[in-house]
C-alpha cells in the first residue's frame, strides 16, 4: 500500500518537475481565484455576524420623551408603557445617563460634548418586548401616547442587513461556482499536458494490465498538489490582507457600529479548511476529467 503511494508520489513529482512552468501558472491562477473567494467569505462572515448581533437587540424599543415633559408625566408614561401588550420589562434611561454613554462611545472626541451648554438628549425608556411581532405592534401604539417624542427600534436595520447578507451569500455562491469551474478547467488542462507527454507510457501500462487507478494516481496527486498549494498561498494572503484591514478599520467600526470584526485567526482556520477541501476537490475532479479520455482509448 505505502509502496504504491510512494510510486505515485515519486511519479507525480517527476511529472511536475518536467512541467514546472505550467504547474506554477495554474497555482497562480487558482490562488487568484481563491483570493477573490476569500474576500467574499470575509465580507459574508462579518455582515452575517453584524446582522446576528443586531438581531439580538430586536426586542428593545427605545422610547424618547418630549424635552418639556415634567418628571411626573414621564413617570406616568412609564407606567402606561409597562401595562401595554407584549411588554416584558421597562428601564428608564435618564438624559444624563444617555450623555455618559455617548461620551464613552465617542472616546477621544468626547471633549466636544463638554462644550454643550445644556444636555440635548431626552429621557427615554428601554422597552423590552416579548417578540418581534410585539415590537412592531408596540411601536405603532406607543407613538400615539402624549408626551412621547419618538422611538427607535432595530427592525428596519435588521431587515436591511438580512438583505445585504443574503445578497452577499448568493453573490459568493454564484462567484464560487464560476471560479470552481474555471479552476477545474485550469487544472484539467495542466494535467492534460502531462498526460499527453506520457500518452505512450499510458498505453503501454494498459497493455501490461495496469488498473485505472494505478495509471491515474500520479496525475491525481499532481492535481491535488496544485489545489493544496494554491489553497495555502491564498489562505496566507487573505489572512495578511484581512489582518491589515482589521488593524486599520476595526477600531472605527467598533466605535460607530458597536460591533467588532471577526478576529483574523479565527477566520483563517476556517478559510484554510474550506480552501484545502476546495483545492483537493478541484485537483481530483480536474485531473480525473483530463485523464478520462486517455484511459478510454
Amino acid at each position: 500500500m505505502f509502496s504504491r503511494l510512494g510510486y505515485s508520489i515519486k511519479q507525480s513529482f517527476s511529472q511536475m518537475g518536467r512541467n514546472k512552468g505550467m504547474y506554477f501558472t495554474s497555482v497562480l491562477a487558482i490562488t487568484a481565484m481563491m483570493l477573490i473567494l476569500g474576500l467574499f467569505f470575509v465580507a459574508f462572515v462579518n455582515v452575517d455576524l453584524f446582522a446576528k448581533t443586531i438581531q439580538q437587540n430586536y426586542n428593545v424599543v427605545q422610547v424618547y420623551m418630549e424635552n418639556d415633559n415634567t418628571d411626573k408625566l414621564t413617570e406616568e408614561i412609564g407606567k402606561q408603557i409597562k401595562a401595554m401588550d407584549g411588554v416584558d420589562n421597562v428601564e428608564m434611561v435618564t438624559s444624563e445617563e444617555a450623555l455618559q454613554t455617548l461620551k464613552k462611545r465617542w472616546g477621544d472626541n468626547a471633549y466636544l460634548l463638554d462644550n454643550l451648554q445644556e444636555n440635548p438628549l431626552p429621557d427615554s425608556y428601554s422597552v423590552y418586548v416579548t417578540d418581534e411581532a410585539a415590537a412592531a405592534a408596540f411601536a405603532k401604539n406607543v407613538v400615539t401616547i402624549k408626551g412621547v417624542n419618538d422611538i427607535t427600534y432595530y427592525q428596519e436595520t435588521i431587515d436591511k442587513l438580512a438583505k445585504i447578507s443574503r445578497f452577499i451569500e448568493v453573490a459568493s455562491l454564484v462567484t464560487m461556482i464560476f471560479l470552481i469551474i474555471i479552476s477545474i478547467v485550469i487544472v484539467a488542462n495542466t494535467i492534460k499536458l502531462t498526460v499527453m507527454n506520457r500518452e505512450k507510457e499510458i498505453s503501454i501500462m494498459k497493455y501490461l494490465g495496469a488498473t485505472d487507478w494505478f495509471i491515474r494516481g500520479p496525475f491525481i496527486l499532481g492535481g491535488v498538489f496544485i489545489g493544496l498549494f494554491s489553497s495555502a498561498v491564498a489562505s496566507g494572503l487573505v489572512y495578511l490582507i484581512y489582518e491589515k484591514l482589521v488593524d486599520i478599520l476595526g477600531g472605527d467600526i467598533a466605535r460607530i457600529l458597536s460591533v467588532t470584526l471577526v478576529p483574523a485567526n479565527y477566520l483563517i482556520i476556517n478559510l484554510l479548511i474550506i480552501f484545502a477541501s476546495l483545492g483537493v476537490g478541484i485537483g481530483v475532479v480536474g485531473s480525473i476529467i483530463s485523464i478520462r479520455r486517455f484511459l478510454q482509448k
Binding site: 509502496s3 504504491r4 510510486y7 505512450k200 507510457e201 498505453s203 503501454i204 501500462m205 494498459k206 497493455y207 501490461l208 494490465g209 495496469a210 488498473t211 485505472d212 494505478f214
Partner: protein, 242 residues
C-alpha cells in the same frame, strides 16, 4: 486458451471479423495470416477487450470475456503478454527499467523485481545491455527487450502483432528462435505476420483470415517434432512456466 465462437465485429459499414470461430489450445504456436485489412488486428484487439464483438463469444484462459466489466480488464491483460511491431519501449527508461516497469505496474515487490528481471534479460540474451537506453540498441535488440517485458510477468499467452515487421530476415529468424524457445517452455503464442518465409520455415499451425472470415486453419506439419507438452494431453493444466 483462446476460443472464438462465431465472433462478428463490424466497424460501421466495414467488416472487421465475420462469424469467426477459432480454438487455440494451451501451448499452441499459431500464426495468424491474411492480407492487409483482413481482420488480424481486430482479432487481437478483441482478445484484449479493446473493442467489443457485435455477436459471438470469446474466452481467454478458460474465462468468458464477453461480459467482462471495465474493472476486470486489467486482470485479463495480465494474462496476456503483448509484443509489437514498433517495440513500444519507454525511451527514457533503460532496458532494465523497461522490463522492471512491467512488474512495478503489477505491484511486484522490489526483491522480486531484482531477482526476476536479470533472469528474463538473460533468457532473451540481452543481459549485457541492461543499462542501455532503447535508442542505443539495434532493432533486433529492442525487440528482445519487448519480448522480455511481455514475458516477465509469466503470461498465459504471448500475442505478437508483426513482431518481425521492422527487422531484417536474419534478425527476424533470431527473434523467431526466441519465440520458439518461449513456446517450448509452455507459453501459448499467437503471432500475426505477413512474412511467408517465416510461416513456411516454422511449420506451425496457420490460421488465415480474409475479409474477416477464417478461410484456412492448418495444423503444423511437423507438430510431432515440436516440443509441446500439451499437444497430446488436451487437458487444461497450468503451463510449466519458466
Amino acid at each position: 486458451m483462446i476460443v472464438f465462437k462465431n465472433v462478428t465485429k463490424n466497424y460501421g459499414g466495414n467488416t472487421g471479423l465475420n462469424r469467426a470461430s477459432v480454438h487455440i489450445n494451451k501451448g499452441d504456436f499459431v500464426f495468424l495470416v491474411g492480407p492487409s485489412g483482413a481482420g488480424k488486428t481486430t482479432f487481437i484487439r478483441l482478445i484484449l477487450k479493446e473493442i467489443e464483438p457485435d455477436s459471438g463469444s470469446i474466452s481467454v484462459a478458460g474465462k468468458d470475456i464477453t461480459n467482462l466489466s471495465r474493472r476486470e480488464i486489467p486482470e485479463l491483460r495480465q494474462k496476456i503478454g503483448m509484443v509489437f511491431q514498433d517495440f513500444r519501449l519507454i525511451e527514457k527508461k533503460t532496458v532494465y527499467e523497461n522490463v522492471a516497469f512491467a512488474m512495478e505496474v503489477l505491484h511486484r515487490s522490489k526483491k522480486e523485481i531484482r531477482e526476476r528481471v536479470p533472469y528474463v534479460l538473460d533468457l532473451v540474451d540481452i543481459a549485457d545491455k541492461a543499462d542501455r537506453y532503447p535508442h542505443e540498441l539495434s532493432a533486433g535488440e529492442q525487440q528482445r527487450v519487448g519480448i522480455a517485458r511481455a514475458i516477465v510477468n509469466r503470461p498465459r499467452v504471448l500475442i505478437a502483432d508483426e513482431p518481425t515487421g521492422n527487422l531484417d530476415p536474419v534478425t527476424a529468424m533470431e527473434i523467431m528462435a526466441l519465440l520458439e524457445k518461449i513456446n517450448v517452455r509452455g507459453t501459448t503464442i499467437l503471432m500475426v505476420t505477413h512474412a511467408k518465409d517465416i510461416v513456411d520455415q516454422m511449420h506451425k499451425r496457420v490460421v488465415a483470415i480474409e475479409h474477416g472470415q477464417i478461410v484456412r486453419d492448418e495444423e503444423g506439419k511437423y507438430g510431432f517434432e515440436t516440443v509441446n507438452p500439451y499437444y497430446f494431453s488436451g487437458e487444461e493444466v497450468d503451463p510449466y512456466v519458466f
